[in-house]
């Protein structure tokens, strides 16, 4: 038992580090934190991110796990993790390619034909074209297969109508992956078809969604008689759900655990604020809470290390890696709430000049609810763990064995 690289892993790490040293600067304290929802992606930042991606692609460090013939490096999953660990030590532009390279690319490589791969993969890999995911709808979130946007065949084209939502980065993307209902008379999962859509097509309208923290990472995307050539269909008509599952499996692999909890910050806060004239850190109730957060945070990190060890041994981590997000996001939320509690009445301020840690904890408190929903809500993750890890029976369902159009539904939510 150890935390060391194998000799091959160490050699790969050294190679990665030497390329990074030559091409980027190490992070310093005070550099901007990771921007998981792409909220700071101004046009200028998008350009910087594209330049960095191009540099990586030219150096052979983009899309490492992809086959060499499509510009990848054909590395093992553990080598990919090592690259990510190393790259995260450097001050690089926000990763706005996560959805494209982490989800769209692998899906096209699995389900696309040769012509489609040649058409989309190279420009995706070099960052010239940015991709988004058009899956969720106002009435189909956790129950994704309940989506209602339609595609109707018209000669060599399909005509798409409907609405997608929670589309990260749609406002700066050229391409999107899209699942729509092509046959409302088929059963729910059987009536779906998967397309690639040009986001600049006539009839595509993108409206940003303002989140509770004021950020705008997501969009609503409206489709009004949008024409998509049949050549942009992935896999067979009616096979959309199988293709979507490939995308979703890759989503879970790329979202992963880690809340980036910084205990130094929490301890400093507990030292700097007082409870009845003594540093809060000396208070027993405060200590009990900090210990709980720390233990759970380590529990997530150490479980991650067990997953990495399995990867290192060539095993494929399965649904059990849902633990990281399920426990990690809630723990991060509890920590932020606790840090605000420590501030007393100042917990209600957000003014960077008057709030401990410049309001960082308040900011997190407003941001974290999104993490507990995106990429599988806590509840869906519990279903995944209970059904796919623990082998418990699936939910009893009211939507099985009948045509989609006959499935009971409530009024539209808005």
């Amino acid at each position: 038992m150890d935390f060391n690289d194998t000799p091959e892993e160490a050699a790969f790490r050294a190679e990665a580090r030497s390329w990074l040293d030559a091409n980027a600067d190490l992070k310093k304290a005070g550099d901007a934190a990771a921007d998981v929802l792409g909220e700071r992606a101004t046009p200028e930042i998008v350009k910087q991110a594209q330049a960095w991606q191009k540099k990586k692609a030219d150096g052979g460090w983009a899309c490492l796990t992809w086959p060499k013939e499509y510009g990848g490096r054909g590395v093992t999953p553990i080598q990919n993790v090592i690259w990510n660990q190393e790259e995260s030590r450097y001050n690089t532009p926000p990763n706005i390619f996560g959805i494209g390279l982490g989800m769209c690319g692998p899906t096209i490589l699995t389900h696309g034909n040769e012509e489609q791969k040649k058409r989309w993969i190279p420009e995706m890999m070099t960052g010239q074209k940015i991709w988004c995911q058009l899956f969720s709808e106002p009435s189909a979130g956790s129950d994704l297969a309940g989506l209602r946007s339609t595609a109707v065949r018209d000669g060599d084209d399909w005509i798409v109508n409907g609405q997608k939502i929670w589309t990260t980065g749609a406002h700066f993307c050229e391409w999107g992956i899209l699942v729509v209902r092509s046959d409302p008379n088929a059963a729910k999962h059987a009536g779906l078809t998967y397309f690639v859509v040009d986001m600049n097509s006539p009839g595509v309208e993108i409206r940003p969604i303002t989140q509770i923290n004021g950020g705008q990472g997501f969009n609503e995307v409206f489709f009004t008689d949008v024409r998509i050539p049949d050549s942009q269909r992935l896999d067979a008509v009616g096979n959309g759900w199988q293709v979507a599952l490939t995308t979703l499996m890759n989503e879970r692999a790329s979202i992963g655990g880690g809340s980036g909890a910084d205990f130094g910050e929490l301890i400093n806060l507990a030292k700097s604020v007082e409870i009845n004239g003594r540093p809060a850190l000396e208070d027993s109730a405060v200590r009990q809470q900090i210990a709980r957060f720390y233990t759970r945070s380590k529990g997530v990190a150490m479980t991650g290390n067990r997953t990495l060890s399995a990867l290192s041994q060539g095993k494929t981590p399965g649904p059990e890696s849902s633990l990281g997000k399920l426990v990690g996001a809630k723990n991060a939320q509890d920590m932020a709430a606790f840090a605000m509690e420590l501030q007393g009445a100042a917990g209600m301020t957000l003014d960077p000049n008057e709030t401990p840690a410049q309001g960082e904890w308040q900011g997190r408190y407003l941001g974290i609810p999104g993490l507990r929903i995106a990429g599988g809500t806590d509840e869906i993750l519990r279903n995944i763990i209970s059904e796919r890890v623990l082998g418990l029976p699936p939910e009893s369902r009211a939507d099985k064995g009948i045509a989609f159009k006959d499935i009971p539904t409530g009024p539209p939510s808005r």
Binding site: M1, F3, N4, L281, A291, K298, G299, L392, S396
Partner: protein
């Protein structure tokens, strides 16, 4: 990254599991819980024969000379079977203390018999109810004579000797005290978990021999607790795993409203949460084992997170086990209470959860 046990270590674990499945089904735990015997003597002899008692005792002192990773594997299996033997007291505490702090003479005197099971040792630290730190210890040693009270002492009624924390001329120190002497009065106490015995020990000028450096008792005791906490975490983990599996099995087999109980989200989601707690307990225990086996500087922190998560996981799972069994879970006849009791016995044995959490904050 190789944060896992080796194939050889897993094989050792499997051997232990096979043996205990045969020799220590839960009926053995129940036999001790319901009967007059303080522990299962045949199982103790078996553990000695399997070489478990001397796992980390060096070969020159009659042990197997393995490391703590191997011992952790055995601890997990003993936990799984709720083995009613004084393993923790004798192996995680007394043997560790002697290996760590004993003179060659003391090791020669005690270790071979600890390894072959002829002697049982224990650790006597606590004196009274409450979350008391070592500063509050009042037992005293003067001129090699120990006086004072230790309560409760795990396996204090059956142990041949105890490692006792007491105040000597130079402050808190550890002492070896044979318990079969006239200056020692032992009183077996009723236990919350009667499958493990506990006692009150009253010392009145009992002969005591210094263990380790005089005046270093606080640091030694703290280190010993860390070591024992890691190993105990594996025992807690094994118990929690068995408890979880039995609960999963029961909810799958039990039908209500025409469906397996395990098909309701009210149950499924809680089982998913229990599984998360269990997996984190495993991960933190592994980290503790890594730190202990390599004597890493992270041990004090690692011991805390291993201990805290193992205790919380076993607490949660053992009480959910009863809840998910419904009425039968509350009966003497079903085994749920064996886990419920053991959870609290293991959780209290090395100091409370709150005390470990408090320690952790100093060690972050």
């Amino acid at each position: 990254m190789n944060f896992d046990f080796s194939d050889d270590q897993k094989l050792l674990q499997q051997t232990a599991r096979d043996y205990l499945t045969e020799q220590a089904p839960l009926s053995v735990c129940r036999e001790i819980l319901e009967g007059d015997q303080p522990f299962k003597k045949e199982l103790w002899a078996g553990a000695a024969e399997m070489g478990w008692l001397g796992t980390v005792i060096p070969e020159e002192y009659g042990g197997a000379g393995f490391g703590h990773l191997e011992l952790a594997m055995i601890a997990e299996e003993l936990g799984r079977s709720l083995a009613p033997i004084p393993f923790g007291s004798s192996v995680y505490c007394a043997s560790e203390a002697l290996i760590k702090a004993g003179t060659d003479e003391q090791k020669k005197k005690y270790l071979p018999q600890l390894a072959n099971g002829e002697r049982i040792g224990t650790f006597a630290l606590t004196e009274k109810p409450g979350q008391n730190d070592v500063e509050s210890i009042t037992a005293k040693v003067a001129g090699g004579q120990l006086s004072g009270t230790k309560m409760p002492v795990a396996d204090g009624d059956v142990a041949d000797f105890a490692v006792v924390a007491a105040v000597g001329d130079k402050g808190l120190s550890l002492y070896l005290v044979d318990l079969d002497q006239s200056g020692v009065r032992r009183t077996a106490l009723q236990a919350l978990d009667p499958s493990r015995s506990i006692a009150r020990l009253d010392f009145d000028n009992a002969e005591a021999t210094l263990l380790g450096e005089e005046g270093q008792g606080a640091a030694l005791a703290s280190n010993l607790l860390d070591r024992a906490a890691v190993l105990m975490a594996f025992e807690q983990l094994g118990a929690a795993q068995a408890c979880f599996e039995a609960t999963r099995e029961f909810t799958l087999g039990r039908y209500a409203f025409g469906r397996p109980v395990a098909s309701f989200q009210a149950i499924k989601h809680r089982l998913a949460d229990m599984w998360c707690e269990l997996e984190m307990a495993r991960s933190n225990a592994y980290y503790g084992a890594w730190a202990l086996s390599g004597e890493e500087p992270e041990l004090p922190m690692a011991a805390c997170i291993a201990r805290i998560q193992a205790t919380e996981a076993l607490d949660l799972i053992s009480l959910e086990m009863i809840q998910m069994h419904g009425g039968v879970g509350y009966t003497w006849e079903y085994d749920c209470h064996l886990f419920y009791r053991r959870a609290k016995a293991l959780g209290a044995a090395l100091g409370s959860l709150a005390a470990w959490k408090d320690k952790l904050v100093d060690r972050i």
